[in-house]
């Protein structure tokens, strides 16, 4: 069972308290009504599903109830870091620093 750090509670809590909520950084188009079928397909159906670093949404379901974002390695299952919803996607340097930290 994974331990997941909730950025709102600032606590590492067991996986059972959380629920996965799909890929992160997919924004609902503001004028969704007028987007093309192609754009809707990309927005709603297509997901990256990468091998390696993945950006995910999680919810601290049985805790504070907040949705947040996480960077997780889909090969090792390790969480590299978690961050508050709405914050920008962490860049390469930040990730490298974080993954060093967690590997120690």
């Amino acid at each position: 069972m994974l331990l997941i750090h909730c950025p709102y509670c600032d606590e590492e809590r067991p996986e059972l308290e959380f629920r996965h909520a799909g890929e992160a950084h997919i924004e609902r188009p503001t004028d969704i009504k007028s987007i093309s079928d192609e754009e809707f397909m990309k927005f709603f159906f297509l997901r990256d599903n990468p091998k390696g670093v993945a950006y995910e949404r999680w919810r601290h379901m049985h805790g504070c109830g907040r949705f947040f974002n996480a960077v997780r390695d889909t090969v090792s299952d390790k969480f590299v870091m978690t961050y508050e919803a709405g914050k920008p996607r962490p860049d390469g340097d930040e990730l490298r620093a974080k993954s060093k930290e967690t590997n120690q």
């Binding site: 009504k33 809707f40 090792s76 709405g86």
Partner: protein
């Protein structure tokens, strides 16, 4: 007498403490502390089971967790019996019943053994090839036979009456294994201030010290030191010592699962004790001290009872005081077996010969053998054995053949060397590395905060191992913030090495032979099978493993993996690491379902939710149905009524007088805030801005793809406050869905969402007399049609308690849904019932609710919709606000497929024969005479007998259904074809006048 093979003065058991048990119905005597295996060997019983495929006679191979052969059924009573228990692990208790497996009708005479004679047909991969043709024979002939023959042991046929427990533990350091290294590491860590858990699968700590009688620590016999150290650890506040506890799974972030066998060794366990306890340990650091496992020699007929690992024979002698035979042969590629031979000889057991395939044994071995008068044949191999139910002789030849000599023996002990037990390390996702010097796989790159020490790390020398253990313990304590340094020193001497030996087939069982030299005993895999797999094109060990099933038995190849790999590598002329080592996965040893499920049985398996009125319904004879976690009153049968009669009566009564229904399970969400209406505008297809406080409306919620997600009535209580209802099962996911949008897509909206499902009890009063029933009970609310028309929701009091009174109808009748705080639910229900009953009303259940709503064509999300149904498909276009700029699903609904003409649409179906009730889920076709497979137009979603309509009614999703009104379609069933007419979905009171009462 506890067995003829018990040696006076040997071992650690107390001769006076005897226990009696049965094995296959025979009564035997053992000593307290015996395992089933040691007790049987003490009584001269070596035949302990039959092998899985060939049903060959098998004896015990090991003395611990690695045992592949001696699997037993252990029984206390009919409900408490467990198959596949390793006799080497199960401790004997008074009255225990043990049964051998894989034999019929008896262990000594087994009809399945004919498989052994037919073995040419059962070569590796035979499952995949033999039973390919003819195809028809598979289902009728092959599969039942294979299924009948497969499977080890017999499952109990009654529910387990034992109970099982579960504990969570957080610690600084978890030490897996309580041998000399594990104990030393635990002591070092504990004395440095760390909180420590140490576990070992055996009944007592000590590991290999149980048989390594030449080891001293602090000038103390090794096993005595282990006992004292374990006691010292147990006495420390910061240490938990767990014996009979197997670490079976190593998961991410140092999460390790342990299974503790609490009562399996007790004759009369305290009823309060769990049989097993699952420990879920989260450790900051893990120290793996799991030792090494001895390998057998791979030679012809190496599987007869009486042939076993040298470490097993030594354990039986030095710990249990049992000699494995009277004339013992030794076959080795390693020094360890010499020590066993010497120990046996010293207590007076005849050692017929030590056959060593090496030319040069280790230092001092030959001279000690000579001193003890034991013949050593170096450069020789055992090339065959004889004996039916126990070995009677071994055939010894010079390496390369020649000079064959048959030596009579009644036991043969063997050692091909030691395999470091890297299971836990590998489970932690560490990568093993091939050590070419010692020809072993050892821990390589670590993936977690753990360390391997001692034999499982390939460390040879005892003092070096102990030093390594102490360093690991102190390092771990320091790493977790320990301030003290224990500076522990433990002087150790004695003990043999763990390296050396051979992997793969021995002389006389090589590629040019056809002998049965077993690699994997439990799955009956021979060296020949592995070579066959390579010849058939399996070039990776993962393929070889699956083709031959080598290492796939319940022992997970603890003794066989390395041999199998070596034979495959040899056949491929490649190095072992190039062929690969399979990854070890949990569990290390089999774990009972009881241990995994532990408390989660019976009432604790899944929570049962009951409404405040549950007790009343029970007292009034309700039959309940499960709706998600809820118990809901299904119908209220009166004396002499079956379900059909009860539902017919309830349906008639509601429409003629009134009915009272417990609707408390409806999901409820309070949506509050200045932007509440704006938020609901985005969550539902409907528009909410113009809804006045005190009024309510039916809402449809979509997913972004345009399909119906949920529905329910939403009431506006105040400008900034809505009372949202959801389907019974939908409440959690609807709240999750709303939270998701509120937090991440529409965070600018000032809204709070609160689950109130369990805060409100809901009593539906429906029917012509509904108002008459509740009127005298209600205060502060004018119930007149003018003040409170259909689709109103007003606050006031009922029976003196606050209520949110809804005038809504899921029946088509005039009616109310009385919401009261849950604690008042039953009292208000009873007050309503007191008025309702004399007026001729009835209590009704969910079945009647379903029929009544179907009579009116009201859908149930999840029954009449399935996640691919749009509001238009369901005939609910009227509920979509046309002018809204945005709502979830607005774009999805515009997708080409969702606006196509031929979509499945919800329609009514009337059977031509009014008495025929369709089956829900039945398919609908246009032409019943078309060839199979027929073109299916859709399916029946709801179907009932309607007493009010005097006929059957049904709804169905039918392609282009609304354009087919009045047409005849067909529902083909296995025994007949049912003719139906396509109709509208409203079967009763089509004009909808009754709701206005």
């Amino acid at each position: 007498m506890s067995g003829a093979n018990r040696i006076a003065g040997a071992g650690r058991l107390t001769p006076a403490k005897t226990v009696r048990f049965t094995f296959d119905g025979e009564i035997y005597t053992a000593l307290e502390g015996d395992t089933l295996a040691s007790a049987l060997v003490a009584n001269g019983v070596h035949l302990m089971g039959r092998s899985f495929k060939y049903h060959r006679a098998r004896g015990v191979l090991g003395a611990g967790a690695e045992e592949p052969n001696a699997l037993m059924g252990i029984e206390r009573d009919r409900a408490r019996r467990q198959p596949n228990v390793r006799a080497t692990v199960q401790e004997v208790f008074e009255g225990m019943k043990a049964t051998s497996q894989n034999r019929w009708p008896s262990l000594a005479f087994d009809i399945g053994a004919v498989n052994n004679l037919m073995s040419p047909f059962f070569a590796a991969g035979f499952y995949y090839k033999t039973f390919m043709w003819p195809k028809a024979a598979w289902q009728k002939l092959y599969e039942p036979i294979i299924r009948g023959a497969a499977g080890l042991g017999v499952s109990p046929d009654e529910a387990d009456t034992d109970h099982y427990a579960s504990r969570y533990v957080h610690c600084d350091v978890l030490v897996i294994g309580g041998g000399v290294c594990g104990l030393s590491a635990a002591l070092a860590a504990a004395k440095s201030g760390a909180s420590v858990v140490i576990c070992d699968e055996q009944a007592q700590m000590g590991g290999a010290l149980a048989y390594e009688n030449g080891v001293t620590l602090y000038d103390e016999a090794g096993f005595d030191w282990a006992g004292k150290t374990a006691a010292e650890l147990a006495g420390m506040d910061n240490v938990r010592v767990l014996t009979r506890t197997t670490a079976f799974g190593y998961y991410v972030q140092n999460f390790v699962a342990l299974s503790e066998r609490v009562t399996d060794h007790l004759a009369e366990p305290d009823a309060d004790l769990p049989r097993e306890r699952l420990w879920q340990v989260r450790a900051k650091r893990v120290i793996i001290a799991t030792g090494a496992i001895e390998r057998h020699m791979v030679f012809a007929n190496n599987d007869r009872p009486g042939i076993m690992l040298s470490s097993a024979a030594r354990t039986f002698l030095n710990h249990y005081g049992v000699a494995v035979g009277t004339k013992v042969g030794v076959y080795t590629a390693n020094d360890s077996a010499y020590e066993t031979a010497f120990d046996l000889k010293r207590v007076g057991v005849s050692v017929e010969a030590i056959v060593d395939c090496r030319d040069n044994p280790g230092e001092g071995k030959l001279s000690t053998a000579a001193d003890l008068g034991i013949t050593v044949k170096t450069g020789h191999s055992v090339t065959n054995t004889k004996g039916a139910r126990r070995i009677t002789a071994m055939v010894v030849e010079r390496n390369g053949g020649g000079g064959a000599k048959t030596i009579a023996v009644d036991a043969l002990i063997m050692s091909a060397g030691w395999t470091p037990s890297v299971h836990m390390f590998s489970q932690s996702r560490g990568k093993v590395a091939w050590d070419a010097d010692t020809q072993r796989f050892l821990p390589g790159d670590y993936a977690q905060d753990c360390v391997s020490i001692g034999a499982c790390n390939g460390t040879e020398d005892l003092q070096a191992s102990v030093d390594e253990a102490i360093a690991a313990g102190e390092f771990a304590a320091k790493a977790v913030g320990g301030k003290r340094a224990a500076n522990l020193k433990i002087a150790a001497s004695g003990g043999g090495g763990w390296s050396g030996g051979v992997a793969g087939s021995a002389d006389g069982a090589g590629p040019d032979t056809t002998v049965k030299a077993f690699v994997d005993f439990q799955n009956d895999v021979t060296a020949k099978d592995i070579r066959l797999a390579v010849r058939e094109g399996m070039h990776s060990i993962e393929h070889v493993k699956r083709f031959t099933t080598n290492g796939m038995a319940s022992d997970q190849g603890k003794t066989s993996n390395i041999h199998g790999l070596a034979i495959a590598a040899d056949a491929l002329s490649r190095e072992m690491p190039a062929v690969g080592l399979t990854t070890f996965r949990p569990p290390y040893t089999p774990v009972t379902f009881g241990s995994i499920v532990n408390h989660g049985r019976g009432q604790l398996f899944d929570p049962t939710r009951k409404t405040p009125m549950h007790g009343w319904a029970e007292e009034h004879g309700a039959v309940f149905e499960d709706v998600s976690q809820w118990k809901r009153a299904w119908y209220f049968p009166r004396i002499g009524e079956d379900m059909h009669a009860a539902v017919n009566r309830e349906c008639k009564t509601v429409r003629e007088a009134a009915g009272v229904f417990d609707a408390s399970t409806l999901g409820k969400i309070e949506v509050v805030g200045p932007d509440a209406a704006a938020f609901l505008d985005l969550m539902y297809t409907n528009g909410w801005g113009k809804l006045k406080p005190g009024r309510c409306k039916y809402g449809i919620m979509l997913r972004e793809d345009g399909f119906i997600y949920d529905d329910g009535v939403v009431a506006r209580i105040a400008e900034d406050r809505f009372h949202v209802t959801t389907t019974t099962g939908g409440a959690p996911r609807v709240l999750h869905h709303m939270e998701d949008y509120l937090q991440t897509e529409f965070p600018h909206l000032d809204v709070w969402l609160t689950s109130t499902s369990e805060q409100w009890a809901v009593i539906a009063v429906q029917g012509p007399k509904a108002r008459e029933i509740i009127e005298p009970l209600v205060e502060d609310i004018d119930l007149s049609n003018e003040a409170m028309p259909h689709m109103s929701a007003l606050e006031g009091k009922i029976c003196g308690v606050p209520t949110r009174l809804f005038r809504v109808s899921f029946t088509g009748e005039a009616g109310y849904e009385v919401n009261v705080p849950a604690d008042f639910g039953r009292a208000v229900w009873e007050a309503i019932w007191e008025r309702a009953e004399p007026l001729g009303a009835c209590a009704y259940g969910t079945e009647t609710m379903h029929v009544l709503r179907a009579e009116k064509g009201f859908i149930i999300v999840g029954q009449d919709t399935d996640g691919t149904v749009t509001p238009q498909d369901a005939g609910l276009s009227w509920a979509i606000a046309k002018s809204k700029p945005d709502y979830v699903g607005i774009r999805g609904l515009m997708r080409p497929d969702l606006v196509a003409d031929d979509r499945k649409q919800l329609v009514g179906l009337k059977t031509k024969d009014a008495n025929t009730v369709l089956e829900e889920g039945a398919q609908v076709v246009a032409d019943p005479n078309q060839p199979i497979p027929m073109k299916m137009l859709g399916h029946v979603t709801s179907s009932y007998w309607s007493e009010n309509c005097g006929r059957s009614i049904a709804m169905a999703l039918v392609a282009g259904g609304r354009a087919k009104m009045g047409e005849t379609l067909y529902v083909p069933m296995p025994d007949r074809t049912i003719e139906v007419e396509v109709t509208g979905t409203v079967f009763f009171d089509e004009k909808g006048e009754r709701v206005n009462g």
